[in-house]
Amino acid sequence: MGNYVLRRLMIAIPSLLGISLVLFCVLALAPGDPFEELATNPNVPPEVRAALRAKFGIDDPVFVRYFRWLAAMAQGDWGFSFVSRMDVDQLILQRLPATLFVVGLSQLLAIAIAIPVGVFAATRPYSLFDQIASTLAFVGFSLPTFFTGLLLILLFSITLDWLPFVYRSDIAATGWRWWWEQFRQSIMPISVLGFFQAASMTRYVRSAVLDVIRLDYVTTARAKGLGEKVVITKHVVRNALIPVVTLVALQMPAIFGGAIVTEQIFRIPGIGALLISSILANDTPVIMAVTFVFACLVVFFNLVADVLYGWLDPRITYR
């Protein structure tokens, strides 16, 4: 098992390098010179400008700059945020837990909805329940997260006044009170993201179960006299989940995209909101770093999916 994880890690490294290359190319191709202001400032003599350019290596060939940038990123030197007046890695570490909290819980919610609904719908194909579930799933993933977020705010915060619509990271309460407030402010963001994910996941689960349920080994299991419940949970679902894991892993980029929107609507202080505010404030080091962190998260969760895949499907050799 350890060997298998290690091998997967070795595969993840080239894709991280590829992503960093794409990001760097985008940055290098972008018009605009960080020293433009110096060039137009008559008080800065040309020699000083040339010395500065040489010091920061602006005129070096692109691949030299890429490797220098990569080395700095690997050493944790991610630059300095001019807007927040602190190191970028510190800033991101502060913001990351909120994002992971919301994304993680919404993912759990999505799984908790999608697997039972998908399995139930697939065991009764074309029944009323199946048709309603399929239609709702279709509507669910066509509803943009920013619109559902606004609708929920309109309903629960403005009309009914039950839930707060601004997420606060500094709740002035302790003990149970804190947990209650945290729960109340998390309901809406988590359900917006969770239902959106659950909609597409339900469709995957349904079609995966439908593929498996007609196979001969399921008939064998029934013929052995196993109860329907055991056949479905032990024999069908476990095998049906194998392709679902892959499809969910492919959805990871979309999940983090949804997290950016959700954080923006509910003002959750996560890295998605940080990205938007940095773009509005022209804070390039932070923008680059957050984009790279998002890429790392996607690669990391793909890795988790690979490991899960190995656990679900013993035919995959760990060697």
């Binding site: 894709s15 794409v22 985008v26 018009p31 279709f138 066509s142 920013f146 619109f147 984009t291």
Partner: protein, 310 residues
């Protein structure tokens, strides 16, 4: 019913010998069986007609400011109400709808072109080129799209504005970037189709008759691979409309004087408590456009997938 698929199409034709349909009519007949898809096609058609012809009938300028009618709810004078400057929302939405749908279709076209070319090359090559192209495709699939979209728009916006003007620059940028980040599923589909089609007898016959590689691809393989590509293209339109709305909703898409649906929603979100109609109309428009296109895609899947016998 599931499980009652006959062994082959010919076996079925022998039983139900009624009339022979052309492939186009057959596809239309199957599409109509999907009731929600047919209804969706009707709704989308009405919407597109309204967007195209509406501005000629509803002749209120999109930027006519009227402070006396500020944030007014829907009425005879303003069927969709007004925004905080008293601008008529119906005419703004009709105008914005053109942009939103144009972005959707143009981005789909970009994604389809890139995806088909890359998928075709990868599907035809038997050497390292196909492997390398698929590695690039997988790499792009694991890129976080929205952050990258935001990054590219942030970096290139000003330069393109200078070249193409404020409206054209943002349009070109958004279309190219959304299309450029959505070609991967198309490429994989086309490659998978090519891998099986290139071994078929009719392709071999074409090769035996001396057809060049290009002719084989364009005349024989591509038309047969078109079904799944059309379905993917339909769904891509919906995804591109969503992506553009998301960008505009985050305030990083089109400038404020171009009221796309996402942009109207972005402007409305601070007035949610006093003017909910302002957010509900554009939000509903985005939702209806996306859900109808997705349903049409589902209907096309039934219509164009020849293996499936209904």
């Amino acid at each position: 019913m599931a499980g009652s698929t006959p062994a082959s199409l010919t076996a079925d034709a022998g039983v139900a010998k009624t009339r022979a349909y052309s492939p186009g009519r057959e596809a239309w007949r199957r599409f109509r069986r999907h009731r929600l898809a047919t209804i969706s096609a009707g709704i989308l058609l009405v919407m597109i007609t309204a967007i195209l012809l509406g501005p000629f009938i509803w002749r209120v300028p999109i930027n006519e400011i009227d402070f006396t009618a500020r944030l007014s709810t829907p009425s005879m004078k303003h069927p969709f109400g007004t925004d905080d400057l008293g601008q008529d929302l119906l005419s703004r939405m009709l105008y914005g709808g053109r942009i939103s749908l144009a972005v959707g279709f143009a981005a789909m076209f970009v994604a389809l072109t890139i995806g088909t070319i890359i998928g075709a090359i990868a599907g035809m090559s038997r050497g390292w080129l196909g492997t390398a192209l698929m590695w690039v495709t997988d790499l792009f699939l694991s890129l976080p799209q929205l952050p990258l979209l935001l990054l590219v728009i942030y970096l290139f916006r000003d330069a393109l504005k200078a070249t193409f003007g404020p409206e054209g620059g943002v349009f070109v940028l958004i279309v190219v970037v959304i299309g450029g980040l959505r070609w991967m599923p198309v490429a994989r589909l086309v490659r998978a189709q090519f891998l099986s089609l290139r071994e078929k007898e009719f392709v071999e016959a074409a090769r035996a008759l001396g057809a060049s590689r290009l002719r084989m691809v364009v005349r024989h393989i591509l038309p047969n691979a078109l079904g799944p590509v059309i379905i993917a293209a339909t769904i891509d339109v919906a995804a591109a409309i969503l992506a553009e709305s998301t960008l505009s909703f985050l305030g990083l898409g089109f400038p404020p004087d171009i009221p796309t649906w996402g942009r109207i929603l972005y402007d409305s979100k601070d007035y949610l408590d006093i003017a909910p109609h302002w957010a509900l109309f554009p939000g509903a428009a985005i939702f209806i456009a996306v859900v109808t296109i997705n349903f049409i895609g589902d209907g096309l899947r039934d219509a164009l997938d020849a293996r499936r016998v209904i």
